[in-house]
Subunit: 192 residues, 2 copies
């Protein structure tokens, strides 16, 4: 059951932009992050919810899409995300935040997948510009951004081939291919 949801939760970069994601839906997703584990139970992550055309635009222009696609700058108008969650680290609570952003994002995206939505997580963010766009107080650092919407593309997982190349790629039909390493290649066997 959880395996199916995890397998279905792929990274999507094109969306049915006219399908809205409600404020209530975003709050339900943040509540999943709230219920998840955080290092030392510090709960130092905060969240900006965006699902209006205006704030979505402010966020979109600070993101760099799909590093391995050299000739694609991101989704065109009409295929852009309907919503975003900006994950902030509240530095007035703690110095660091361990792995909390990974856990929070996985909970949020699994919840989104269950609702028929999908998303994409960003590290390539113009953080200075985004902090200005959102008028963030200085004690907030931007940990990551999640784009959300109803996916408008097909993503398939396949095995890494002999070349060992893990770069995702898009075929002529627009299908996004993601090479994954084999299970045995991820396990390090300890000597007795």
């Amino acid at each position: 059951m959880i395996r199916e949801l995890i397998a279905k939760n792929r990274t999507y970069r094109r969306f049915y932009q006219d399908v809205e994601v409600s404020q209530e839906t975003l709050r339900e997703l943040i509540d999943l992050a709230r219920l998840s584990s955080t290092g030392g139970n510090l709960q130092s992550l905060k969240f900006v919810l965006s699902q209006t055309l205006e704030t979505n635009k402010r966020i979109f222009k600070t993101l760099k899409w799909a590093g391995y696609y050299k000739d694609w700058d991101g989704p065109e108008e009409g295929e852009r995300p309907s919503a975003y969650v900006v994950v902030l680290h509240d530095q007035s609570i703690s110095k660091g935040f361990f792995w909390d952003h990974g856990i929070a994002v996985q909970s949020i995206l699994l919840g989104a997948t269950e609702k028929g939505l999908g998303g994409c997580q960003f590290n390539s963010i113009d953080r200075v510009a985004l902090a200005q766009e959102l008028h963030l107080p200085e004690h907030f650092a931007i940990a990551t951004v999640i784009a959300l919407g109803k996916p408008k593309e097909v993503v398939v997982i396949e095995e890494v081939n002999e070349s060992g190349d893990i770069k995702y790629w898009r075929d002529q039909q627009g299908i996004h291919h993601v090479p994954k390493r084999a299970l045995d290649d991820l396990i390090f066997k300890v000597e007795a």
Copy 2:
């Protein structure tokens, strides 16, 4: 559905040590991490699976348990984890690993919860000692450790009270209490 699983997935520190976790179960859990997102699709995390008394002992002695419990050094013999997953960063693949350990651990622990197991994630690890115990090659760095087993304690979530104290605590019945911030306290509202 995913909400119930996330709510049930609490941090457990005492286990029915005689309930074994099979190698096959651990492999199924690692496969959930394998199917999960990784930054740039780099897949630089590797995993050590431990479920024998001997390797479990080697790992146990390098862990520091429950930072907020000043008078408790961890579970006694008989209540210790039946298994561990040591999450490694393979530095021959990439310099960093983004939020990958958080995502991987959340997938693993949600899978464990579904199977009636539970666990605890560690950052307080004697990494030098553990690398020696496991004879890790130099290109591996220890990202985190997950202890796993059949939980032998009750964990309850409650609201953070007026003091704002987020420290978890154990009552006289041995019930572990985890104060969580309210949803509205996690949401930062952006000015228009």
